[in-house]
């Protein structure tokens, strides 16, 4: 009955979505004049999707093997946490999670955006309902997560061992909240284009959504990067894999949107542009979901390809994105662009930020889809990898980082450039670091420039605080400072680890010693060991660099259900970096493949990512607090 209750909730939610669309966009006789009915429907719909998701988690928790999805993807011998998280470790469940978050976002929009113009809100909720309906349809017609298996299976097939990791518990929900949170910005943009009311009050209503989704995307990408780093055993933190790019593209669009929305909110300018970015951001989310779920691009996230499902999602996103951009093409001409800019002003710097981010987005987009276009047109197969992305997007990203030093020091409207003098010290520090790197370290110029610019930005990020009373500085300003400082930290980590990493790939016998960077690693032994649903060969490595000895235990694991081999790297984190060790295959003569990396400062990359997200949280918290206080004073 649990599965049936979940299914019934989904059908009800789909019916409500139809009602929501009719009330928002239907013929004049039935269209709702007030926002209240549409809002109530959106809230109930959100509750129903949460209920359906809870039911799915429940059948997974009980390992109910009469449910097809559980039998195919779970196993009674799995740890409890992975049983529950397994609900979204498969196609149907993860689509349900996607729809649940979409429903929740619609409900939250209905609850919190009361200050928005009624017509715009109604139209936005209608758009949100239309989005939800398509994906409800997809679940109910092509990907029913609650389908029964008769007779029930005796035992489940188990979950892909790569996914049996705490990362699975958080990574998909975090990214999905980010992806789908952008749907609200999309719906609001559609609503505003329908009513023609694109102004600063719309920007203020949209801003927390963009900020919230952007925080989650930042966290999701940072966590996903770390997961790939330690779980895949390849030692890299970014591979320009199509699925990574699929998460990076909405982030780039959302980052641009986050900045342009401030121009719209403060100066009532960049109207059409901001609406277009809002549409692009969520369109990129949908394209990302499609790329991941359909398996059309070859990637580490290789999911089973089902052409029927792929076609269904593709049709949905072609319809939504096509409809949105048709609306944009027809309506955006009516919007005036608002006041003009001075060349030296905060808004001009933000336009620079937007242009650079958009170009980088274009570069990633082209690089990701170029092989597909070429193969479709000429039949040639090729792949686009790190050399292209680094060489083309890298310099632009560095230019953007320099602009981050400058922009926050400028005033809105008009600026004499007086405060730019404060940049002299950071610029000198940056040039010094660059010169030292040029002389002392071999490696790419891009990475050295990155290190210099990171040093400059690390100091410049705090300059906007000069002359302010720190206690009275708004939290949103602190948020900006912390996020920009986070960029400097992440950039420093990327540049330093790229230049300084030492790699050793060797075959060694127990008892032998291997030198990697400053570390002397002694290969002690390989012994068998076992866990709840795996067995492993575990190496014992004693690593030291002068001082004390650290023991690392990398494993080669064999999972029984389903039968799979994985490598579990062992990582020693110290202040100045990470020693990363992987146990490979045995050779016949008693030697073992060992892969050792010394990666100086690599941890800064994820620390920076976390700081960027923290900055977003401070800004969001600050704005929410001010909004709440203003509400209370009334």
């Amino acid at each position: 009955m649990i599965a049936e209750a979940g299914l019934a909730a989904l059908w009800l939610a789909a019916a409500l979505a139809i009602l929501q669309i009719v009330l928002a966009f239907g013929p004049a006789q039935v269209r709702s004049v007030a926002a209240a009915p549409v809002r109530s429907i959106a809230i109930v719909e959100g509750a129903l999707t949460v209920f359906a998701m809870a039911m799915l988690m429940w059948v997974f928790e009980r390992t109910d093997l009469s449910v097809l999805l559980v039998a195919e993807n779970s196993h009674s011998a799995k740890p409890w946490l992975y049983k529950v998280a397994g609900a979204w470790g498969n196609h149907e469940g993860s689509m349900l999670l996607w729809v649940t978050i979409l429903g929740l976002a619609g409900a939250a929009l209905a609850i919190f955006s009361r200050r928005l113009d009624t017509k715009t809100l109604t139209a936005a909720l209608g758009a949100q309902g239309a989005l939800a309906l398509g994906f409800f349809g997809f679940l109910l017609l092509a990907s029913n997560p609650f389908a029964r298996l008769n007779p029930p299976a005796f035992e489940g097939r188990g979950l892909n061992p790569l996914l049996q990791d705490p990362g699975l518990v958080f990574h998909p929900p975090t990214l999905y909240v980010g992806y789908v949170g952008l749907s609200v910005a999309f719906s609001l943009a559609v609503g505003a284009l329908v009513t023609g009311k694109v102004d600063s009050s719309l920007a203020k209503a949209m801003r927390p959504w963009v900020l919230g989704a952007w925080i989650m995307l930042t966290l999701g990408i940072t966590a996903g990067s770390y997961w790939a780093y330690y779980e895949l055993g390849w030692g890299g933190w970014w591979f320009w894999d199509p699925v990574e790019n699929a998460s990076l593209m909405p982030w780039l669009a959302a980052t641009a949107l986050l900045h342009s929305i401030n121009v719209l909110a403060s100066r009532d300018s960049l109207r059409a542009w901001t609406m277009m970015l809002a549409m692009i951001a969520f369109s990129m989310s949908m394209v990302g979901t499609f790329l991941v779920r359909s398996g059309v691009l070859t990637s580490v996230h290789a999911f089973a390809v089902d052409p029927e499902r792929g076609t269904f999602i593709l049709a949905l996103l072609a319809f939504y994105i096509g409809a949105a951009f048709t609306l944009f093409a027809v309506r955006s001409g009516r919007l005036s662009e608002g006041p003009k800019f001075e060349l030296v002003s905060r808004e001009a710097a933000l336009v620079g930020n937007n242009l650079l981010l958009t170009v980088i987005l274009g570069i990633v987009f082209i690089g990701t889809l170029y092989p597909l276009f070429i193969e479709a047109v000429t039949g040639d197969k090729l792949s686009v990898g790190a050399p292209y992305f680094n060489a083309v997007a890298g310099p632009l990203a560095l230019l953007l980082a320099v602009l981050v030093c400058i922009g926050p020091l400028l005033n809105w409207k008009r600026d004499s450039g007086e405060k730019l003098k404060r940049l002299i010290v950071p610029a000198l520090v940056g040039v010094t670091v660059l010169s030292i790197a040029l002389v002392t370290i071999p490696g790419s110029l891009l990475a050295k420039a990155g290190l210099g610019i990171a040093a400059m930005l690390a100091i410049s990020a705090f300059l906007p605080l000069i002359g302010r009373k720190l206690m009275r500085t708004p939290l949103s300003t602190w948020g900006m400072v912390v996020a920009h400082f986070g960029i400097a930290v992440a950039l420093a980590g990327m540049a330093a680890s790229t230049m300084l990493t030492k790699e050793v790939l060797t075959a060694a016998r127990p008892g032998e010693q291997v030198q990697v960077g400053p570390w002397l690693v002694e290969f002690e032994s390989v012994t068998p060991t076992a866990g709840p649903n795996w067995t492993a060969l575990q190496a014992e490595l004693r690593a030291s660099r002068g001082g004390g000895v650290t023991v690392l235990k990398p494993q080669a694991r064999y999972y029984t259900s389903p039968p799979t081999e994985t490598t579990e790297s062992a990582i020693e984190t110290v202040l100045s970096g990470q020693l990363y060790t992987v146990l490979g295959k045995p050779a016949e003569d008693g030697r073992w493949q060992l892969r050792l990396w010394w990666k100086p400062w690599v941890t800064l990359i994820w620390l920076g990512g976390a700081l960027i997200a923290l900055g977003g949280m401070l800004a969001l918290g600050g704005r929410a607090w001010r909004g709440w206080r203003r509400e209370r004073e009334r």
Binding site: F328, A329, L372
Partner: protein
């Protein structure tokens, strides 16, 4: 300017068309070298062991078709491939080895354990030569004709069943 507003829509159409095409034509995941049919890249690979000559692109266009085998002492499938390479050598196929990311001592041990079918062995300490050939892993083997043109690529270890095909390919490459 008016037409510019339709640009995003046109881009969406283009991308959707490409994705529809991809759904209709699912991808083939074998990574084939783009170098097949082209001359070998110009290179010189240092000798790794005393008494074993080095390899350069000139050595690969000396009029005799041959096999270029990318291998390594740390590569487990290469151990299984070794007897098959010896078989090919016995049938008169010249084989040139490229040792990928290897150390002389390990290499010497590998050859004494598994036999040495190689005329020459060049070292490729950073996998640069391997990438220049368009090879994605070890072992991989290329058929190079007498003029130094890559005729065929064999991905993964050569199995005994592949020997006849490779011998024929080397004969055709004359």
């Amino acid at each position: 300017m008016k037409l510019l507003r339709f640009l995003p829509l046109a881009l969406v159409g283009l991308v959707v068309a490409a994705l529809v095409w991809r759904l209709a034509n699912p991808p083939d995941t074998n990574v084939e070298s783009g170098m097949v049919g082209k001359p070998v890249p110009a290179f010189t690979a240092d000798a790794t062991l005393p008494g074993k000559p080095s390899v350069s692109s000139a050595d690969l266009s000396d009029g005799r078709p041959k096999l270029v085998n990318f291998f390594a002492s740390w590569c487990v499938p290469c151990v299984g491939e070794a007897p098959v390479l010896t078989m090919l050598k016995q049938q008169g196929v010249p084989i040139v080895g490229i040792a990928v990311r290897d150390r002389p001592a390990d290499l010497r041990q590998f050859l004494s354990d598994n036999g040495d079918p190689f005329e020459r062995i060049g070292s490729d300490p950073q996998s640069k030569l391997q990438l220049a050939f368009g090879s994605a892993g070890v072992p991989e083997t290329f058929v190079v004709d007498g003029r130094g043109i890559i005729r065929m690529q064999h991905i993964g270890p050569i199995e005994p069943d592949d020997v006849a095909d490779l011998v024929a390919a080397v004969k055709d490459a004359r």
